[in-house]
C-alpha cells in the first residue's frame, strides 16, 4: 500500500542531490532504500511463506517417524521419494503410451472437467435464472436440489453408466451432475435477491425482457452466481477420480485407480498431492475471475 509513496519520495529526493550543492546529509539517504523497501518486503514474504513451510516440514517429520517402522502399511516420505522420483521431478516426460508424466495426465483430466463443468455452468445459470423468477418453482425445487446436491459422485456412477451405456459421456455426466446443483441454487437465490430498487429503475427506463436480463439480472446476481461457480469447480474436481474410474485411459483419476490395482502406493501419494494443488489453483482462478467481474457490485 505505501510502496508508491516511498517510491516517489525517493525519486523526488534524487534530483535535489545532484543539483543542490548545499545538501549535506547524503549518507543517510543511501541505506534507506534497503531498509525501507527490501527488508519490509522480505519480512512480509517470510511471514506468509515461512509458517506453511514449517508446518509442512513438521507433518513430513511426523509422517516419516510413523511410517519408518518395518511393518508400516503406508510409505514414508523418503520411500516415496525413492520410488516415485521421476513422477515428482518431471511432470511432462513421455516414456511410452501408458508411462507419461503426471502433468500430461492432469491436462487430460482438466479437459474432461472443462467439458463437465462448462456444461454445469451454462445449464446451471440458465436453470437458476428461470427458477429464481418464480416463487413456486423455488419452493418446489429447492428442497429437491438440496437433497440431490449431497449425493456423492461415486453414487452417480452406476446411474450414469446405465443411462449413457458409454464410458466417456458417463464420466462427463458425473462431473456435470456433481457440480451443477450449487450453481443452480446460488443463481436462483441471486435472481430472487435483485433489489426492488433496480427493478424500479428498469421499469422507469422501460428496459425490455432481454435488456433486463443482461443489464440488471446477470450483473446483480453475479456475486451469487460466482459463489455457485466456485463451489462447483471444487466439486467437479472432486468428481474426477470417480469419473475416470469409468473411462480408463490416461487421466489422473484413472492413474490412481491403476496404481492401487498394482500396489504402487508411493505413486498414489504423489498423485494426491497433484490433485490437491490443481484443485487449489482452479479455486483461485475462479475466485480471481469473480473478483474482477463483480468489482464494485458487492460494495454498494
Amino acid at each position: 500500500m505505501n510502496m508508491p509513496v516511498l517510491q516517489t519520495s525517493i525519486a523526488a529526493s534524487a534530483p535535489i542531490e545532484s543539483t543542490g550543492a548545499s545538501v549535506v546529509s547524503l549518507p543517510t539517504v543511501k541505506p534507506s532504500y534497503l531498509t525501507t523497501r527490501i527488508v519490509p518486503k522480505l519480512k512480509n514474504a517470510a511471514a506468509n511463506v515461512l509458517p506453511p513451510i514449517i508446518m509442512l516440514a513438521l507433518i513430513l517429520g511426523v509422517w516419516q517417524l510413523l511410517c519408518m517402522k518395518p511393518g508400516a502399511t503406508l510409505p514414508a516420505p523418503t520411500k516415496i521419494w525413492a520410488e516415485a522420483k521421476d513422477l515428482i521431478l518431471d511432470p511432462f516426460f513421455v516414456a511410452g503410451p501408458q508411462d507419461i508424466g503426471l502433468g500430461w495426465r492432469v491436462l487430460v483430466s482438466l479437459q474432461r472437467v472443462a467439458i463437465g463443468y462448462g456444461l454445469a455452468g451454462i445449464i446451471g445459470i440458465m436453470l437458476g435464472t428461470i427458477i429464481g423468477q418464480s416463487v413456486w418453482a423455488m419452493r418446489g425445487l429447492d428442497p429437491i436440489f438440496q437433497v440431490l446436491r449431497t449425493i456423492s459422485p461415486l453414487a452417480w456412477l452406476p446411474i450414469s453408466l446405465a443411462a449413457f451405456r458409454d464410458s466417456q459421456p458417463s464420466a462427463i455426466f458425473v462431473i456435470f451432475i456433481t457440480s451443477v446443483w450449487p450453481i443452480i441454487i446460488n443463481t436462483a437465490v441471486g435472481i430472487r435477491n435483485i433489489p426492488q430498487d433496480y427493478r424500479n429503475v428498469a421499469a422507469v427506463v422501460r428496459l425490455n425482457h432481454l435488456e433486463f436480463f443482461w443489464k440488471i439480472m446477470i450483473p446483480s446476481a453475479a456475486p451469487y452466481i460466482f459463489t455457485g461457480l466456485r463451489i462447483g469447480i471444487g466439486l467437479s474436481w472432486l468428481a474426477i477420480v470417480a469419473a475416470e474410474m469409468l473411462t480408463g485411459g490416461v487421466g489422473i483419476g484413472f492413474f490412481i485407480w491403476d496404481a492401487w490395482n498394482s500396489s504402487r502406493l508411493s505413486d498414489i501419494v504423489v498423485a494426491l498431492v497433484y490433485i490437491g494443488m490443481i484443485g487449489f489453483i482452479l479455486d483461485r482462478i475462479v475466485a480471481f475471475v469473480a473478483n474482477i467481474v463483480t468489482r464494485g457490485t458487492a460494495a454498494s
Binding site: N200, V201, V204, R206, S220
Partner: protein, 264 residues
C-alpha cells in the same frame, strides 16, 4: 383550463392475506406545468406510495393519474424518479448509469454521438463530469444523489419525481444540493413533485406545499401557496416575513393539528 398533471380521486388499499389497510384516501391534486410541488407529512403516512402511483410503479386501487389529459398507469421515462437511496446500479460507472436511460429514451431520435454528448451535458448540469468514470461505490452520498438527478433529467421527463432526495445527507451537503436543484428548476423549468419531511426544505423550494394527514387513510389536509419570488436565496429568506409565515403554517399543521401518534 385543464391541468398538466392531475391526481384524480386516488385511493390505495394494501391487501396482505385477508387483512387490508387503506393507506391513501381520496387524493385529488392538480399540478401546473413548471410548478414545484412538495408533499410533506409524517413518516409512514403514504407519501412514497403516492409518488409511486404517479410514477406507475404502484397501481392505485381507485382513481387514476392523468398527465396532459392522458391516463398513465405504467412506469415510464416521462415520469423519471430520483429515489431516496439513489438506486444507482453499482456495476456501472457514473456515465453508464446515466447512459442507460438515455440510450433507451433517445434510441431513435438521437445518434450515438448525440447521446454521448447529452449524457455529458446532464452530468455537467449537476457538476459530476469529473467523476464520470467512477463507480457509485467510489463517490460520496451527495454525489450519488447528483448522478441520480442527472439520470432522471437526462430522460427529459414531463414530471420529475423526487422521493426524499436529500433525506440521507448531512445538513451541509443537503443545503448545497437544494441550491443545485433550485438552480436547475430555474434553468430548465421542469415540473417537479418532491416528497420531503423537512419543513424548511419544503418552503425554500416549493411553489405549493401539499400537507398530508396521518395514516391510515391519509388525505390531503391542506395545500399552502408559497408566494416567494424566485430566485430565492436561503440566507435572505431566513428573515423574510412571508417565508416565516409559511414555515409557521406547515409546522402548525404537522405538530399541532396532525401530531404524529406513536401508537398508530
Amino acid at each position: 383550463m385543464t391541468a398538466y398533471l392531475k391526481l384524480d380521486h386516488i385511493d390505495k388499499v394494501f391487501t396482505r392475506g385477508n387483512s387490508s389497510t387503506e393507506v391513501l384516501k381520496d387524493i385529488n391534486l392538480t399540478v401546473d406545468k413548471g410548478e414545484y410541488i412538495s408533499i410533506i407529512g409524517h413518516s409512514g403516512c403514504g407519501k412514497s406510495t403516492l409518488l409511486n402511483i404517479v410514477a406507475g410503479l404502484t397501481t392505485a386501487t381507485q382513481g387514476g393519474v392523468l398527465l396532459e389529459n392522458r391516463e398513465v398507469n405504467e412506469p415510464g421515462p416521462d415520469r423519471a424518479v430520483v429515489f431516496q437511496n439513489h438506486s444507482l446500479l453499482p456495476w456501472l460507472t457514473v456515465y453508464d448509469n446515466v447512459k442507460l436511460g438515455v440510450d433507451k429514451v433517445f434510441a431513435r431520435t438521437k445518434s450515438r454521438a448525440e447521446r454521448d454528448e447529452w449524457v455529458l451535458y446532464n452530468l455537467n448540469l449537476v457538476q459530476m463530469t469529473h467523476a464520470k468514470d467512477k463507480r457509485p461505490s467510489e463517490i460520496s452520498g451527495g454525489m450519488k444523489q447528483r448522478v441520480g438527478i442527472a439520470r432522471a433529467l437526462a430522460m427529459e421527463p414531463k414530471v420529475l419525481l423526487l422521493d426524499e432526495p436529500f433525506g440521507a445527507l448531512d445538513a451541509l451537503t443537503r443545503a448545497h444540493l437544494q441550491d443545485s436543484v433550485m438552480a436547475l428548476h430555474q434553468k430548465l423549468g421542469n415540473t417537479i413533485m418532491m416528497i420531503t419531511h423537512d419543513v424548511d426544505e419544503a418552503v425554500l423550494l416549493s411553489d405549493r406545499i401539499v400537507m398530508m394527514t396521518n395514516g391510515p387513510s391519509a388525505r390531503i389536509g391542506e395545500v399552502l401557496d408559497v408566494p416567494l419570488a424566485r430566485p430565492r436565496k436561503r440566507l435572505e429568506l431566513a428573515s423574510n416575513a412571508t417565508y416565516l409565515k409559511c414555515r409557521q403554517r406547515v409546522l402548525e399543521f404537522l405538530y399541532e393539528r396532525h401530531r404524529f401518534v406513536e401508537a398508530a
